[in-house]
């Protein structure tokens, strides 16, 4: 099978999956208890008003018509209107994306900065105190729920020591960068940085621990391979071997696993945003669930699923390009 054919097949599968997600979400709404009209209107509104709203929203239509309307809407980018705020859902979702991306990227960067050196040290000094420390640290990191870790960071670093704010995002990254570039005023950028550190550490710890483990075991495998012994025999400096060849080969499985853990990153971001009042997609999602704001809830979940599927297709395509055997399977 050619790469093109593979890509087309993968895209078709992606479309199917997204259709499935939309259908599942619609079905969930259809079976969920509670009358949406109560969410739109005040407790004291009369029956006449309720009927009116029901008609306006098409809630009096048969289910299959509501379903087709919904599908048709999504195709043209119309996710309906939020029950709670009457705003169109799509901008409500999109305006929250930057905050979540900031958090996810910051967490990933925190994880990479700490974990790779830690893994390398751990692998090259096997069974020394540094290795034990890193191993136990990563075990604890993998086993700690990030919301609790976040609270402990708040407790120690914010409440007790007053070093960091308890969260919130008073300024967006892109705004603060823009201000820094146009007015050379670094205040907002520093504020942003100050506010994102704790959430990023809380979300990034699991990945730090995971990548440390992977780097360590990957390095140990690689270091035992013949080419390493051979290059060592040739007298290349050990440090160079370690970082250039071995680490590069170790990174491939790490990237694969990180791709697979994307769901964990998004799920983790949801709860981290709640702990730190970070105004991202997760915060919007939980608010939508709590308010039973179905159009918004569906919008967020479908959006996450679409991005998820697209990223996975990209990863697969990259893989197939690098390794033609995958496409042939």
């Amino acid at each position: 099978m050619t790469f093109g054919k593979f890509l087309v097949r993968r895209l078709l599968q992606g479309v199917f999956v997204i259709w499935g997600v939309i259908t599942v979400m619609f079905a969930l709404r259809a079976v969920s208890p509670g009358d949406p009209v109560n969410l739109i209107l005040d407790q004291a509104a009369g029956e006449e008003l309720r009927q009116q709203v029901r008609e306006d929203l098409g809630l009096d239509q048969p289910m299959y018509i509501q379903y087709l309307d919904y599908l048709q809407g999504i195709v043209v980018g119309d996710f309906g209107f939020s029950y709670q705020s009457s705003r169109p859902v799509l901008p409500m979702v999109l305006e929250r994306v930057p905050a979540t991306l900031e958090l996810a990227f910051a967490a990933t960067i925190v994880a990479l900065i700490i974990s790779i050196p830690l893994g390398v040290v751990s692998a090259t000094r096997r069974n020394e105190p540094a290795d034990y420390g890193a191993t136990i640290g990563s075990l604890v990191g993998i086993s700690t729920p990030n919301f609790w870790l976040g609270l402990m960071l708040i407790l120690i670093l914010s409440v007790q020591l007053g070093l960091f704010p308890t969260g919130r995002r008073p300024v967006a990254f892109h705004d603060s960068i823009w201000i820094a570039l146009t007015t050379f005023h670094l205040g907002p950028l520093i504020t942003w940085f100050h506010h994102i550190i704790l959430p990023a550490v809380a979300l990034g710890t699991y990945f730090t621990a995971l990548i440390t483990r992977l780097t360590r075991s990957g390095m140990i495998d690689e270091l035992g391979k013949p080419y390493v012994t051979a290059t060592e025999a040739k007298g290349l400096p050990g440090v160079l071997i370690r970082y250039k060849h071995v680490l590069r080969n170790t990174m491939i499985p790490i990237i694969t696993v990180l791709g697979l853990q994307l769901g964990t990153l998004i799920g983790g971001a949801v709860i981290t945003e709640i702990v730190f009042s970070w105004p991202g997609l997760g915060d919007r999602f939980i608010a939508a669930v709590n308010n039973r704001d179905w159009p918004l809830l569906q919008g967020v979940v479908v959006f996450i699923a679409i991005s998820f599927v697209l990223i996975n297709i990209c990863v697969d395509a990259l893989y197939a390009k690098l390794n033609p055997k995958v496409a042939a399977q």
Binding site: G34, D35, N38, L39, I40, L41, D42, Q43, A44, A45, G46, E48, L49, Q52, V53, D56, L57, F81, S82, Q84, S85, S86, R87, P88, P91, M92, E95, I154, S158, P165, T166, G167, R168, P170, V171, A172, D175, S176, I179, H185, G187, P188, I190, T191, W192, H194, S277, P279, R284, N290, N291, R292
Partner: protein
Amino acid sequence: MRSDDNETNRRKVLQLTGAGVTTGIVGLAGCLGDPDDDPTEDDDENGDADDGDDDDALDQDDFDEIVITQGEFPDVVDPVDHITGPYFNVYDHVYEPLFDFVPGEGIEPRIVTDWEHTGDGSVELEIQEGVMFHNGDELMASDIAYTMERQINPDVGPASDQVAGLGSIEGAEATGDYELTIEYSGAPDLAEFEFGNYARAMNEAWTEEQETSEGAIVGDDEEIFNGTGPFEVVDFEPDVQIVLEPFDDYWGDVPDFEQVIFNGDGESSGRVSALRTGESQLIDNVLPDEVPDVRDEDELDIREVTTFRNIFLVMKNEHEPFDSEEFRQAMNYAVDNEEIINTVLSGYGAPMSQPTPPEVNGYNPDLDPYPHDLEQAEELVEDSGHAGVEITLTVPEGRYLNDAEVGQLAADMIDDLPNVDCEADIVEFPEVSDANSAGVDDGEVPFYLIGWGVITGDADYGMAGFFMEGGGVQNFRDEELDEALAASQVEEDPDEREALLMDINEMAREKAPWVFLHQQEGIYGINDAIDWDPREDESIFVWDMN
């Protein structure tokens, strides 16, 4: 130790000391001088940068700007769409009320300068000339009539929640450029409480041009606001913040502040942290536990007021065992509302004796809260014939001050009765709200905790909806009560009407439609250089501050 006398005493003293503190503040603020004196404030052009910049915000002494952080941020932009307090607190600065409402007193002229009841179910209003909208149009009486139509008529504008506060208003019509007539069906007194609180002004021509969804104005930038209020919107980020600046052509006194920012943080600890770091100067709903911490900070202060918001447990009387008056009274005897106030609320709250809070028209000062008396309660349960019953109390979480804790304690106290098993089920607020709107015949959730702010300042707003046939949130059916309320609504003499409402409160206490818990305390954290007293109706008006 926990006798009624002591409790009342304590409250009184608290109120007095509260008043004492405030007087002190006035003096202090006077010393600090007029905030306008300080032109050295390095003024960032960009609103985004301003409130984010710790260095600027830490300058505690100049209050050209004020940031107000509430637990909720308005999620809609149409000023006549919703009915909750935090929403009015923001939009009243942009779309000002037509009257000034003084809790416990009544209404005073604002945009409306004069009003007169004609005696045939209508009132004639006169408004000021030369009141300007932010877009440059002049306010006309027809704009007000149009706005009222949007509030009460589902065919015009959004399906507005505010119709609940305008129950007796039939319609409005402009009779001249600056004169209009409002028609109502009940007593003039009742109508006055209603339009006095809920009348606003939107620009008819402008509103008709806006993009709407279900009749409500929608949008996500500063262009979507146009009122006559002292502040206009200069920046709006949905669900994040709204930035206001004084409106140059405002008819009244120009406010002291260069900029007012409202934002929201659902976590109490987050709000407190914002206050401490100087990112915010006023926050609402400080948890009682965090009060000492805030008070201990040099430049911060706590201001509190007992609000018009009742917290109570609804017992729908179309369902067993709540159909029995003895059983409902037993619940009131079983729950020790003073202990709830003294423990999980750390003393912040006042026990309820009747559906109407003190200071509200129709409150009956002769009624005492139900005492805590387990023996009496047990006996009443026996008499009711429901001994051995198992009930579940449904409790919302995060809506009212420590609501989940309050509900759990109440359930445990009822569970202390040897002949009743009671368990608390803690849920998200919409579930409770659904149950409340479902009516008295719906028995899925017959017993739940809810709160209701009697913000119009009239007892009718706290009872008619709950106790009358066809009231929007009817959860108690009783002919006697229904008739008495109906009679009060058409009683034209204000004194006579107040007497009727007082009798109704006594009747309602006896019939025990609810387990009466407490009036919620409004606890605000504030930078102590700001001269401001919290209001019983939970409104926050920047024009009240200095």
